[in-house]
Symmetry: C2
Subunit: 436 residues, 2 copies
């Protein structure tokens, strides 16, 4: 292009794991193509790694163990792919305060200190981009922040953690237990040696906080997110879902909630297992894929689908952000600020309207359903459907409720579990989506 | 927000049909929320319509029949929702040359004069946004232009015209003829009185040109796009597809093509009916919905799904662009320029590799298949599958080919149709996607 300037945009890379090494490879290998898209050369000036001697594939002169020094050096953009809170937080704040733009995929840091980082970026006029933090390669944050900026998003619901989706998909197709399936996932490399961040829902909760913040113009942190993982999901839960022609997914759900026409709005942000109909488009999302539904007042229903993790897909998101930040450097502008003007309150989980599926083994005698139904009535929980069937000397009873306060549903289940006629609470899970 | 400035961003609206009236309603009704997102008030200064007296629902003082005067007036952003080439092209060029940003959904104009408009925007530093031009509410162009700016897109394939998708979906489920189904679509308001722009593929071809331009950094105009509509699709074609567990969709296909390892790249941009497997995710996109698959080297396979038309959904895209343009005004920057640096040649359809499905009624006697197979061999077309079955005194023969030059496939079909043993060519259609 005739508009190409010669002064390069100088880039520092912090971290060189699966994603970082892919980013480095593209920056070094596709320099000409990136330069054409930015309108100026992109120069990778340094790569901070813990052990520079462990990266023989990279140019020696670029490697350094001094991340702090690299951040302080003469660079325009800092790409951070190390992860974790400290010391990364300090480095990125330093970079932003000095006017250097930051591209990061650090969901934990953003979900905790997003406000602080965003304020630092705002003050110095630097860009803070983090498309890679949620749903890997899927362009999701930019559409939420920019494309839908003139609409009112009412709901974001999606599969944002590949490890748990792999485990749940496998449990659904094999009937194996959670423990067996986790072992298999670990062996295949889909789960880490310490799988807690994934299976306990921390990773998804960080992503939910980021999604809700952008969707509702409201700062939501990870600690605001109600979180349940998948470690309690049993083979019985999966069978219970299958009997209803449903499947179990770990969903991140962010929604606007308003009680009554006059009530002020709040947002519910949560991560928990959900039974969804097999006909639901999220039900067909298998293995390590991610998919996110977005509902907006004017746009209606949108879906975004793609690879949620992996070196190359995540590097695609990082490089997209880098090109945006670099273009802004060249053009002298900056990307849109985060707009947290709505500042809606986050609704406690107990006050959030949800629907429950409850599967019980009960005594096979008359009056049992009446007794159980009475407990629902006392807690003001309306029953949508009941299915009963004999099974040896006990009977199996399945109840699906209408929407009710989550705390009322929980209290109902607690009370029911104490009834003499209830032999066992086989499965309790929230449900989303209409049966077709 | 404390950052809010008081000087408003002044906006002119050209056209007030289905989409325009929804945009006007939101601009007038949600002013406070839009102002919070932009960081400055948005002021709608005028609405140009053909007959101002026909819009009693709008403030009288805003309405004018003088679009040209409105464009020349003191406004920062011009939203154009009139459509067509002239006189709109002149107005938008005037606006851009005077540094006014333009938001438009005019796919025909962009597919024809995108380069001229883009150059005018570039010279004056104004923004030119047109998310509404392709796939209505689905955030698609911004992801292509920005999120994937650091990746290499290899393929964009999608359902981008709701009218034809409605007709083909209905033909597939009812077995009715094209003519009957078009009548029904017109009665239901899914097809216009003159349906040519949709059913002859012009609308989809304009969108394909826009998609290919952004995806491949290469200026592609509507006249570069190979185009076949759906008017020739018969109930027999639908049945032929169903027998192969496939369905017929009108697809816009944009792909990079390189012949041999040393060959330079070109792009193929085309719109035509395609048989795709029923298991393909695009096969399940029914009614007036749109869905677009994007394949990129690093990101892998992505899908975007949502409403492709309608007042409110399209207004969502327009207002997203307006907020972006207005934010740039407030921040003093501008959005990323279009980058057409690759300038790849557009491959003629005849030279494009495609696969054909051919369904024939042939004489039921020995040697017929050998005779037909010989024609394929002469044209260097490799056969992937053959299915033959008796049907009274003739036999039905179905051939699916491997990839071959489209011109070779066409020549093969022509020659086969002249064979004495061929009673009728029942259906010829291109196929995409592997059978599962």
């Amino acid at each position: 292009m005739s508009e190409r300037r010669q002064t390069p945009v100088r880039v520092a890379l912090l971290g060189c794991g699966t994603v970082g090494s892919e980013v480095a490879r593209r920056l070094l290998g596709d320099a000409e193509e990136l330069a054409a898209r930015v309108g100026a050369p992109i120069e990778l000036t340094g790569i901070a790694v813990r052990r520079p001697d462990k990266h023989p594939e990279l140019p020696k002169e670029l490697l350094t163990a001094d991340a702090s020094g690299l951040v302080e050096s003469d660079v325009d953009v800092v790409i951070e792919l190390i992860g974790g809170i400290e010391p990364v937080r300090g480095w990125l704040l330093t970079a932003l305060r000095k006017g250097k733009s930051v591209v990061t995929g650090n969901k934990a840091l953003l979900a905790e200190y997003g406000a602080e980082l965003s304020a630092a970026a705002s003050e110095s006029g630097a860009d803070l981009y983090y498309e890679a933090a949620v749903a890997g390669a899927i362009p999701l944050l930019r559409p939420l922040r920019e494309s839908l900026a003139g609409d009112r998003i009412t709901r974001v619901m999606g599969i944002v953690n590949g490890t748990t989706n792999f485990i749940l998909s496998a449990m659904d197709s094999t009937g194996a237990s959670y423990a067996e399936t986790l072992d298999e996932a670990t062996r295949l490399g889909y789960a880490e040696a310490d799988p807690s961040a994934d299976v306990d829902g921390y990773d998804a909760a960080s992503k939910a906080a980021i999604l809700a913040s952008l969707a509702f113009h409201t700062r939501v942190t990870a600690s605001d997110v109600y979180r349940e993982g998948i470690t309690g999901i049993s083979a019985s839960d999966i069978v219970a879902a299958q009997r209803l022609n449903r499947t179990v997914k770990l969903l991140a759900i962010c929604e606007r909630v308003a009680e009554g026409p006059e009530a002020s709005e709040s947002v519910s942000v949560r991560v928990h297992p959900v039974m969804i109909p097999r006909t639901h488009q999220l039900a067909g999302v298998g293995g390590a894929f991610n998919a996110v539904y977005v509902e907006a007042e004017a746009a209606g229903e949108l879906m975004f689908y793609g690879q949620g993790a992996g070196g190359a897909p995540t590097a695609s998101a990082v490089l997209g952000d880098l090109v945006a930040a670099a273009r802004n450097r060249v053009a002298g502008g900056r990307g849109p600020r985060e707009s947290m003007h709505a500042a809606l309150p986050v609704r406690p989980m107990g006050e959030t309207p949800t629907r429950y599926h409850i599967s019980l083994d009960v005594a096979d005698k008359p009056g049992v359903l009446a007794q159980i139904a009475q407990v629902f009535a006392v807690h003001d929980v309306s029953i949508a459907a009941v299915r009963q069937r004999d099974k040896h000397s006990t009977a199996s009873l399945v109840v699906v409720t209408h929407l009710a306060r989550d705390a009322a549903l929980e209290a109902t289940v607690n009370e029911i579990s104490k009834l003499d006629v209830v032999r066992e609470v086989v499965s309790v899970m929230r449900v989303e989506g209409e049966d077709s």
